[in-house]
């Protein structure tokens, strides 16, 4: 951690603020009993992730994250939550059950294991990143990659989105209820 100039300190400060906002809002998502507050915490999480993506020079992905994820997907979530009302369970109601304790232990064990594996396998190799040029995360680069190397992923994504849209329309239509009774 070589604080060579003011720019470097600024990057570290922004990183610390964004990372802690990310982690704090992540914990808030699973802790609130009202799902509306959980959804709002997730929006905060997505915004701080966008800041982290900007620090990693992925500008198009950061803008797409805010535009698509935080701007459209979460609006859908908030619609459904406002429509269905806020009667959700309190996570620790009735004292922590054995199930909950084992879940926490299992998650913590997996977390430690992943960090240990990453540390052992990569050693010190993750400390140095190659310098990237100006066009690294730019829309032109992403577009070119999508249309040349990853054309199949591009086409399949469009089909997946179409299927989801059709599925959403079918699930939301009223005639299913009367047909089933």
């Amino acid at each position: 951690m070589i604080l060579a100039d003011a720019g470097n300190i600024l990057v570290w400060i922004v990183w610390v603020v964004a990372a802690f906002a990310c982690l704090g809002s992540g914990i808030a998502v699973i802790s609130f009993s009202n799902p509306f507050y959980s959804a709002l915490s997730l929006i905060g999480n997505l915004a701080s992730l966008a800041v982290l993506y900007l620090l990693l020079a992925a500008e198009f992905v950061a803008a797409a994250q805010v535009l698509v994820y935080a701007g459209a997907v979460m609006v859908m979530f908030l619609f459904v939550i406002a429509y269905l009302g806020g009667h959700a369970d309190a996570p620790w109601a009735g004292g922590p059950s054995w199930q909950a304790l084992w879940a926490v232990a299992a998650s913590a064990a997996l977390l430690v294991e992943v960090i240990v594996v990453i540390g052992l396998k990569t050693g010190g190799r993750l400390s140095h990143s190659p310098p990237t040029d100006f066009s690294f995360g730019s829309p032109a680069t992403i577009g070119r990659l999508f249309l040349t190397d990853h054309l199949l992923a591009f086409e399949i994504t469009s089909i997946v989105l179409l299927i989801a849209a059709v599925g959403g329309v079918i699930l939301g239509s009223h005639s299913r209820e009367t047909a089933a009774e």
């Binding site: 509306f36 709002l40 929006i43 500008e59 198009f60 803008a63 797409a64 805010v66 535009l67 935080a70 701007g71 459209a72 609006v75 908030l78 619609f79 406002a82 429509y83 730019s138 829309p139």
Partner: protein, 328 residues
């Protein structure tokens, strides 16, 4: 040549103040234009020609009792108008209003910030502004507010899709997502309102719907759902919602000028910001003109227009533009 950081800061401060001044006098201009179209004078009591009317309105709003519903969620209720106003003001930061100038030793660029993704940054901030309305309506804990805010947000989300598609044609012709590059491209070739006429039309209709302006203002019309998402707001909090709405309108007009009408380039003399301001006020006048003349659309008509008319048209426009750009 890059800008020193404190020059950007000063420029941002100046731009925000100019924006807020424009918003204040936009309220007066709107009332005057509406009045003249309805064959009456507008406000002309406060000051000569009513020029002090915005000041009077501001003082009235500040002095009004800002009531607080007892069952409202406090933090969300207070931050909702702040969020919608913040995103509206921040979205103006990427709009170029002039070529760069060199003043003394320092370079001052023609926009507050220039990034390679400035167009989607603007749309992203617009999407974030929707949350101000959703959260404000929900946090007011009132059925009128909730219903009105749900309608408003459904409308805004629907027309946002058509808005982005309409702009796709301009991006294809301008070869870049950066607004500065698009403006320069229009100087090199031709202003995009010619070849992209369909795109301009779709952009305009979707823009009017996106900013909740008449004839698409059903969710906040007084005779419909009381006042929609700002039913339970009064005083300066309501003023912040209004500021968000008007500044959204100004930003959208500025975007239309940048994308379709050549930005700050003029037919003859190189007076960058002056041409930009002229074109901006011309587009804003069209917004006001629509308010004075057209009746309101019903909600189902509104949604049908957005999804069944504008979206297919915008898609066809994008496809045809792509084909022509590749072919020519």
């Amino acid at each position: 040549m890059t800008e020193v950081w404190w020059v950007s800061l000063i420029k941002a401060f100046v731009i925000i103040n100019l924006l807020m001044l424009t918003f204040a006098y936009m309220t007066l201009i709107e009332r005057k234009v509406l009045a003249r179209m309805q064959l009456r004078y507008g406000p002309n009591r406060a000051g000569p020609f009513g020029l002090l009317q915005p000041i009077a309105d501001l003082v009235k709003l500040i002095r009004k009792e800002a009531f607080f519903p007892a069952s409202a969620v406090d933090v969300l209720y207070i931050t909702a108008p702040v969020l919608s106003c913040f995103t509206a003001l921040a979205a103006f930061s990427v709009i170029p209003f002039g070529p760069g100038w060199t003043i003394g030793d320092y370079y001052v660029s023609g926009e507050v910030v220039n990034v390679s993704i400035s167009l989607i940054l603007l749309f992203a901030l617009g999407s974030l502004g929707i949350y101000g309305f959703i959260v404000g309506g929900w946090a007011s804990d009132s059925k009128y507010s909730l219903l009105g805010s749900m309608r408003t947000c459904a409308q805004m989300v629907s027309y946002e899709v058509s808005l982005t598609f309409a702009v796709l044609g301009v991006v294809l012709m301008g070869r870049s997502l950066s607004l500065v590059d698009i403006v320069h491209k229009q100087d090199e070739t031709f202003w995009f309102f010619g070849p992209q006429f369909v795109g301009l039309l779709i952009f305009f209709v979707a823009g009017v719907a996106e900013t909740n302006r008449p004839p698409f203002d059903l969710p906040e019309a007084d005779t419909e759902l009381v006042a929609g998402y700002h039913t339970e707001y009064s005083g300066m909090r309501f003023g912040l919602f209004q500021m968000g709405e008007y500044v959204n309108m100004i930003t959208l007009s500025a975007l239309a000028v940048t994308l379709f009408f050549g930005g700050w380039y003029g037919p003859w003399a190189p007076l960058g910001p002056l041409w930009f301001a002229l074109k901006l006020f011309a587009v804003i006048f069209i917004f006001l003109w629509l308010r004075a003349t057209l009746p309101r659309l019903r909600y189902d008509q509104l949604m049908r227009l957005g999804w069944k008319v504008l979206l297919p048209l915008a898609t066809v426009n994008a496809v045809v533009t792509a084909a022509l750009v590749v072919a020519l």
